[in-house]
Every structure is written in structure tokens, then in C-alpha cells.
């Protein structure tokens, strides 16, 4: 109880409240503009938050992370262009509803389902906290190493149809974090004699290049476009009533969001597809899916909004990010010397509760904001795409240059920007590079610190949690091989691999 009050106290500051408001409202706007995802915004703002208090910086970034998907539903429903990559499925049913003249119904349903998913995710996080505080200290170096390894394997396997490319990029990420002076043996690794490489390749420089600059280059090299959405009329609160008729779908979808959000490497995409499939299979009108089914819309929006809260679980409890946005947040923790992991629950539990309350507050702020401002947002999304590219390029400079005023960083970021553009053009995933860098670093450090206690390789898995993680790794690999063999035999029809659309990130 004391910790709860301490967490609330943390939020009761004008600067934290302002950061939350700016993050939430900014996140909705950013999410609503096709072409700028939360990753671009977080990457640009990341260095700016370093000078702020940890709770201020984190609430602002959390605001953007948690609210962007609300905004992303607007263009998905109204103009059939998802505002963020994870709103792709929303357009499947949302846009047909708009075509039928039910835009108002679709948008308000999307908001209500998002709110349901968001709050469900946070409640699970709060309820799970005592369990986490109990289990997290059982994670030693070996367990964290195995969990990070599982994360790498999952992020590769989650990119079905692009596994080789995802593997290549994840390995590239692991390699990138090895470049520079080895912190333990003080030997140079892949510096090719260049002194600027001795300090290694900075994660934030890579993130800014791959997410922000690449998006600027992508928009600037593509033809100009200015999406036009018609204004929506009617009361936005109407969706809540309709949502209550589909409580089961919303809750199960949120459940999928929570479970898959917790597992590193899987995230919103898998959660959405599983919930959508579930909703279709159990619906009384399965033929309506893809043609404007409210249940389909609810399933996809509830699932993706439950993920941010759930993704905080491995991040806070183990220090393992499950996807790119939490990987970026991890660097904010590190800069402020707050190390996420088992100790966080023991030493900084007030910060953890503060973040929980921030998550609840941001969902409420966003919901209230959207009830009154949907039509304003339909005007904002008309920003021409090339102009947006110019602005992202100028903003990326702030992010890269403010880190350490280095021109070399700008050149490296520009290089990664071009690589990111190529990956986006080829529809190959960017996330494995970032997760490879972060999880690769964790694996190297944790394996080294586990070594003195290992006499034989089997000592690696002689503790219960390590054993469970090891079995999970084997199971994931075995299941994947089984699916491959099954597909080989059955000649499955072509899948829609556009679902992993990296262009929006």
C-alpha cells in the first residue's frame, strides 16, 4: 500500500502530468498520421528525455507508445491506410464499415475496444506484479541469458515467410553490439583501426537511422501524397454500448494481447492475428469478417492495445525488451542508472507503480481527447507525405547530434537510414536488428557472468526456471520444424506476407 501511494505521489507533479499529457496527445496525433509511427517519434525524442527525470522521460515515451495505436485506427478506418503498422487488421473491417456509411460506428468501436484492451492489459500487469516480484529474483545470469536467447529465436521465427532475412538481420544486430573495445578483455573487435569504432556502435544512433531517417528517406523518394479523410459525425461514446455486446471477443482478444505481449519477439502482430482468427471462428457471422464485421474490428484493436502494458512485464521484471519500442525505453532506464530487472522490484517499486498509474492515466486522457477531437485529427492526417519527410529529417538531426555532438554519429545514422530505406522498400523487418543489438549484449554479459559457476554445460539448466526456459526453446524450435514439414507436405496456398509491413514503423 505504501508503495502504491509512493507511486501515485510520483505522478502528482506538474512536470510528470505535463509529460503524460504531451506524450498521450502527441502519441495519438503521431499515430494518426500515416508515415510517422511511434518508433519514429520515440527515436527522435529519446535523447531529449535524457536530461529529464526518469519518471518524466519515461511517462512521455510511454504516453506515445500506449496512445499511438488509438490514433492509428483513424486512418485505418477512414482511408484504408493504417496509421501505424499494428493497425493493419483494423482496416480489414473498419474500412468496409466506412464504405457502408458507418464510419462513426467503426471509429467509436475502435476507440472503445482500444480502451478495453488498454485497461485490461494494465490490470493484468498490476495483478501479476506480486507474482513478478516473487519470480523475478529467481532469474540469475543463466536464466536471463536463456530468456534473451528465447527472445532472439522468437523474433526470427515470428517473421514467417521471411525467416532467413529476419535471422540475417538479428545476427547483424548481435554483431553490431560486439564492435568496439571489449569491456572485459580490453581487446579491439572489428574496429579496422578506426578510433571512432572503439567506443562501439551506439544503439540510439542505429535506432534513429533505421527508424527515423529511413522513414524520411522513404517519404522523400516516394511520390507526394496527401490523404484525405471525410469528417465523422455523431457521438463517439456510442461505441462503448456496442462493445458491451461483444465483451467476450474483447476480453479474449485482450488476453491474447497480454500473453503475446509478454513473450519477447512476438508482439502485436501475432496477438492481432490470433484474436482475429478466434473471433472469426466463434462468430455467428464469420462470413462478415473482412467485409465490415464489428467483432473483427474489436478483436484487432483490443488485442494490439493490450500489448504495451504486457510488454512492460519482461522489460521491468527481467530487463529484456520484447520489441523495438521497449528496447528504446530500456536505454532511457540505463541513462538514468535505473537498471530494469529483478532488483527494480526490490529497490524502485515506487517507480514501477508510478509507471502503472501513468499507463492508466494515459488511456483515460486519450479516450477523453478522442471523444472530442476525431475531426481535428482527420484534418491533421492531410499533411503531404514529402513535407513530412522534410520534417522527420530535420527532427532526426536533433536526436542524433544531441547525443554527443558528433558528425561521425550523423554519418553512421545516415548509413543506417539508407539501410533502413532498403529494408522498408523490400518489406523486410527492421526490428530484428534492434533486438539483436540489445538481446545480443545481454546474452554476452550474462553468459560471461554465469561461466564461473558452470562446471559442465548441463549446469546451465540445472535450476527449475532455466530448465523451463530451455524446454521452451526446444519446444519452439520443434513446433517450427513441425509446421515446416506440414507445409512442405500440404502445399499451403500463398500467405499474405504484407502483414509484416515494415514501411509504417
Amino acid at each position: 500500500m505504501e508503495n502504491l501511494i509512493a507511486g501515485l505521489e510520483m505522478l502528482a507533479r506538474w512536470d510528470v502530468m505535463l509529460a503524460l499529457l504531451v506524450g498521450s496527445v502527441g502519441g495519438v496525433i503521431i499515430g494518426a498520421i500515416p508515415g510517422v509511427g511511434p518508433a519514429v517519434a520515440i527515436a527522435i525524442l529519446l535523447p531529449a528525455t535524457f536530461s529529464l527525470d526518469p519518471i518524466v522521460g519515461l511517462t512521455m515515451l510511454l504516453g506515445i507508445y500506449g496512445s499511438s495505436m488509438y490514433g492509428g485506427a483513424i486512418p485505418a478506418v477512414l482511408i484504408n491506410t493504417p496509421g501505424t503498422a499494428v493497425n493493419a487488421l483494423t482496416s480489414y473491417d473498419g474500412y468496409p464499415m466506412t464504405e457502408r456509411g458507418e464510419a462513426h460506428r467503426a471509429v467509436s468501436l475502435a476507440y472503445s475496444a482500444s480502451f478495453w484492451g488498454g485497461i485490461f492489459g494494465i490490470l493484468c500487469l498490476i495483478l501479476l506484479s506480486p507474482v513478478l516480484a516473487l519470480i523475478a529474483p529467481m532469474f540469475g545470469s543463466r536464466e536471463i541469458f536463456l530468456a534473451a536467447l528465447l527472445g532472439i529465436i522468437l523474433v526470427i521465427l515470428a517473421h514467417r515467410g521471411q525467416i532467413m532475412a529476419a535471422g540475417l538481420l538479428a545476427m547483424f544486430g548481435i554483431f553490431l553490439q560486439t564492435v568496439g573495445l571489449d569491456a572485459v578483455t580490453y581487446t579491439q573487435r572489428y574496429t579496422f583501426g578506426y578510433s571512432f569504432l572503439s567506443s562501439g556502435v551506439n544503439l540510439i544512433v542505429v535506432v534513429l537511422g533505421l527508424f527515423a531517417l529511413s522513414q524520411a528517406f522513404f517519404l522523400l523518394t516516394a511520390p507526394d501524397n496527401s490523404p484525405v479523410a471525410k469528417p465523422v459525425t455523431g457521438r463517439m461514446g456510442a461505441g462503448i454500448k456496442e462493445l458491451l455486446k461483444h465483451k467476450r471477443v474483447a476480453t479474449v482478444a485482450s488476453g491474447f494481447g497480454v500473453i503475446l505481449g509478454m513473450i519477447p519477439g512476438t508482439g502485436e502482430f501475432t496477438a492481432q492475428f490470433m484474436s482475429y482468427t478466434y473471433a472469426q471462428k466463434t462468430s455467428k457471422e464469420p462470413e462478415m469478417f473482412g467485409k465490415g464485421s464489428p467483432e473483427g474490428l474489436i478483436a484487432s484493436e483490443a488485442a494490439n492495445n493490450a500489448v504495451p502494458a504486457a510488454a512492460m512485464i519482461p522489460l521491468l521484471a527481467l530487463g529484456i525488451p520484447g520489441e523495438a519500442l521497449t528496447a528504446m525505453m530500456l536505454s532511457v532506464f540505463y541513462v538514468h542508472n535505473v537498471i530494469p530487472g529483478p532488483q527494480l522490484f526490490q529497490n524502485n517499486i515506487d517507480l514501477v507503480y508510478g509507471l502503472y498509474f501513468a499507463l492508466i492515466a494515459l488511456n483515460v486522457i486519450v479516450m477523453v481527447f478522442l471523444l472530442f477531437s476525431t475531426n481535428l485529427l482527420t484534418k491533421i492526417i492531410r499533411v503531404p507525405t514529402r513535407f513530412l519527410g522534410v520534417m522527420i529529417l530535420l527532427l532526426s538531426f536533433v536526436g542524433v547530434y544531441s547525443l554527443r555532438n558528433s558528425l561521425t554519429d550523423c554519418m553512421i545514422a545516415a548509413g543506417f537510414g539508407v539501410l533502413g530505406l532498403i529494408l522498408k522498400r523490400l518489406n523486410l523487418p527492421i526490428v530484428p536488428i534492434i533486438l539483436g543489438m540489445v538481446l545480443g549484449g545481454i546474452m554476452e554479459v550474462k553468459l560471461r557472468s554465469a561461466l564461473p559457476r558452470l562446471k559442465t554445460p548441463f549446469d546451465m539448466i540445472d535450476r527449475p526456471i532455466a530448465m523451463i526456459l530451455f524446454v521452451m526453446i526446444l519446444l519452439v524450435l520443434a513446433l517450427h520444424i513441425r509446421t515446416l514439414v506440414k507445409e512442405w507436405r500440404a502445399y499451403q496456398s500463398e500467405e499474405d506476407h504484407d502483414m509484416h509491413d515494415s514501411q509504417m514503423r
Binding site: 532467413m164 538479428a170 522523400l220 530535420l394 554476452e444
Partner: protein, 179 residues
């Protein structure tokens, strides 16, 4: 015939033009980096394998080469998509904007953050094809807002321009601190 077909179906992926060019570049880079393993990393005598500074570069580059080879195989076994070189030329076009970005970073320490941002916002807007006064005006306003937000309010660590040194005393201090 059926064996070839099933092999194709196993490796066939959803692709876009230019995929095979990327696959070749990835493989060449991976193999080159792997070939430098002995020169660019060291082996500490008596140390355990997993604690060697060479271990993780070897694992990651080995993995990269492995996946790159299969990625290329997948590309080669899939049907050819037209427009490959057109796509590659677009990648090369993007280097121009990378140049703009580096140029901007080069100019800021001399011309100052506010003037450079306004100049680059307008110049890039013109380059992107906008000619109307209103759009260029919006570019100037956006540039000023960016500077006010990051340099003036958030006090982000950005250099002051050398050009500011030539300004009269009172104005110089304000420009050096806030813009």
C-alpha cells in the same frame, strides 16, 4: 520434378523487386566480415571458449553468413520480379538525402541552429517539389517551432553557431543560449 518444386515451395517467400541484389550484398558483406575474424578479434590463451572476445563475433557472423546464403537461395529459387535495377537506382537516389542530412550536420556548428534549420527546411521543401509561398511559409514556421521546442525549452545539447560571435553583445548572449 516434384522434389525441385517442393524445395521451391519451402524457400519461396513474398518478395519485392531488388530482393536478390540485397541478398547478394548481404552474403558478400557477411563472408567478408567473417574472413576478417582472425585479424579483427583476439583469442586469450587459457580462457574459456564462451568468454573469448572472439566468441560472439564468430557466432553472429557465422549466423549471418548462414542466413544470408539461404536468403540468397530463396531469392534465386523464386520467380524473377521485373524492375530490379529501377529499385536499386531508387536506393542510390536516397543517398542524396543522406547527403542533405550530413550537410545539415556540417553547417549547424558554423551557421547556428536556428538559421541552418530555417535554410534547410526551405531548401528541402523546394527540393521535395513544393513551390507555393504558403507551404514554404509553413516550412519556416515549423523550423522555428522545432528550434524553440528543442533548443529553447528542452535545452537539448546542440552547439551554438560560430556566426553568433559576430553579433552585438546583448543579442549574442541570447542567440548563443537559446537558438
Amino acid at each position: 520434378m516434384s522434389r525441385v518444386k517442393t524445395l521451391q515451395s519451402l524457400f519461396k517467400r513474398y518478395r519485392r523487386p531488388g530482393d536478390i541484389v540485397f541478398a547478394w550484398i548481404a552474403l558478400v558483406v557477411s563472408v567478408f566480415l567473417l574472413s576478417q575474424l582472425m585479424d579483427q578479434t583476439t583469442w586469450r590463451k587459457g580462457g574459456k571458449l564462451f568468454a573469448q572476445p572472439r566468441f560472439w563475433p564468430a557466432v553472429s557472423l557465422g549466423g549471418m553468413a548462414f542466413f544470408a546464403a539461404f536468403h540468397l537461395l530463396g531469392s534465386a529459387l523464386s520467380e524473377r520480379i521485373h524492375g530490379r535495377w529501377q529499385e536499386v537506382s531508387l536506393w542510390i537516389t536516397s543517398l542524396e538525402y543522406a547527403g542533405w542530412f550530413i550537410g545539415y550536420a556540417l553547417v549547424v556548428p558554423y551557421a547556428g541552429y536556428l538559421p541552418s534549420t530555417i535554410i534547410f527546411a526551405v531548401a528541402l521543401a523546394l527540393r521535395a517539389g513544393y513551390r507555393t509561398v504558403s507551404t514554404l511559409g509553413v516550412a519556416v514556421v515549423s523550423a522555428v517551432v522545432i528550434v524553440l521546442l528543442f533548443k529553447t525549452f528542452l535545452k537539448v545539447n546542440l552547439p551554438s553557431g560560430l556566426i553568433y560571435e559576430r553579433l552585438p553583445d546583448g543579442l549574442r548572449q541570447i542567440m548563443l543560449t537559446y537558438f
